[in-house]
Structures are given as C-alpha cells and as structure tokens.
C-alpha cells in the first residue's frame, strides 16, 4: 500500500501532511509506504500510488490521476486525517 502526500514544495505543508498521516496510520494500525511529492512531480509519482492525500486547492491542479484522492482541510487536525484515511482505506 503506497500513499502519496502531495504538497506545494515539500518542506511546509508536505511535512505536516506526512507527520499527520504517520500518526493516523499508526492509530489505525495500518502499514503503508508514505511518500511526499510536490505538485510539480506528483503526477509521475501518482502512477505507483494507491492513495493520494492533499489539500483541495492542490487536488484541482493534479488533474486526472488514477489513485483515489483524499483532501484534507485542516493539516493540524489528527481526527480529520484519521477519519478520512479510514474511510478511504475501507473502500479500497
């Protein structure tokens, strides 16, 4: 299971996404490879991902990609990340 976190540049929002996703996966007891890509290289990285996590703003810029996209509104809310990941992975 590979999860791709897509951010603007890799060191701000991307870090936050990855940290929250790691905590959420741990809480859910799910093992997954977590990769971070910035919007410029995300489409290529998406080719091998099962799921994408990003903000609604950047999701629009991704265009058509194969993996399901989970959009996060609040990057500092663990409950949001947990419930959205759980719902997405349950349907996977």
């Amino acid at each position: 299971m590979k999860i791709l976190a897509v951010c603007g540049m890799g060191l701000g929002s991307g870090l936050l996404l990855r940290m929250q996703a790691e905590k959420a996966l741990k809480q859910l007891g799910i093992q997954a490879d977590l990769e971070v890509a910035d919007i410029g290289t995300a489409r290529a990285a998406a080719a091998t991902a099962d799921l994408i996590i990003t903000s609604a703003e950047l999701a629009q810029q991704l265009g058509d990609v194969k993996p399901r996209i989970v959009t996060i509104t609040n990057f500092v809310s663990l409950p949001e990340m947990v419930s959205k990941l759980e719902a997405a992975l349950r349907d996977h």
Partner: protein, 159 residues
C-alpha cells in the same frame, strides 16, 4: 535550550495585532519578521509571495492559519519561524479556511532543520483553546511564554 520551536522563534520574530490590508501585506509582515530575526534576507519574502501567486492559497493549512514559506534558497540564512497575529482577519482565497488571523513564516535551509519545530507547532495549534490563547496574546512575551510552557509540558525526554 527551551525546545525546538522556542529556539527558532526569537522575540524579534513575533508581531502582535499587525495591520494588513490584503494577503500580500500579511505575508510580507511575516517575511519582515523572519528578516528581523536574522533567519532570512528580504528576497525570501518575495519568494513566499510568489509561491502563493503560482500555487494558490494552499498555505492556509488550518482554519485561520497560514503557513507562509518558499523553497530553500540563498535568501535563507538559517532555519527560522516567525509568528504574526493580524488585527483584522484577511482573506487569502482559500475556500474553507479563510479568513486568516495567524500567519506563520517558515524559513528552511534544507529539508530537515526545522522538522521538530514544525511538528511542535502543529501539535500546539491542533488544540483550539491553545490556538485562541495565542491569537489573544497582547504581546510577543506572552506568545513565547505560551509556547515555552507547552514545550516544557510536552518534552519527549520527560513525558
């Protein structure tokens, strides 16, 4: 050493009740605070603004909170964080998290030096009461005390 976040947020990097007419001014204030703290040169402020111009307002990462930053560049002298509370909330164009009341400036010379500080900041802001206390702070000393107290209470070494 007080904690990773306190270490990157000196008094010169905190502005309280700043007046900003639009998002560019708000980001500029956060950038000026980074310059004042010695973390960046002026050019970085322009880079932070250009980031939003080209990628959109995705930097509004939580309701009312913007994380202004740009890629590592020669304009970054060292890792640093600035914190600006706005007198009047400012829209950045984010559909869900507008308007912004707190602008955090982030300067990173590489992928790593700021990770602990950012993680601590995210934890700190994840609690609405803590975030509101920060927004109500009347001066930089109060902001830094709130953060220092939080870091002391959540020191991984002692908890």
């Amino acid at each position: 050493m007080a904690g990773p976040l306190s270490d990157l947020l000196p008094p010169a990097a905190v502005r309280i009740g700043a007046a900003a007419g639009d998002w560019r001014e708000a980001v500029r204030i956060a950038g000026d605070a980074l310059v004042a703290s010695g973390a960046t040169r002026d050019g970085y402020t322009d880079e932070m603004i250009r980031t939003v111009e080209s990628l959109g307002p995705y930097i509004v990462i939580a309701p009312g909170v913007a994380l202004a930053h740009a890629r590592p560049s020669p304009a970054v002298l060292r890792a640093g964080i600035s914190l600006v509370t706005l007198a009047t909330p400012v829209p950045f164009g984010h559909r869900q998290n507008d308007p912004v009341r707190l602008v955090i400036g982030l300067a990173a010379p590489d992928d790593e030096g700021h990770v602990n500080a950012l993680a601590t900041l995210a934890e700190f802001l994840s609690d609405d009461d803590r975030r509101d206390a920060l927004l109500r702070a009347a001066d930089p000393g109060t902001v830094r005390s709130l953060i220092a107290a939080y870091e002391e209470a959540h020191d991984p070494a002692t908890s």
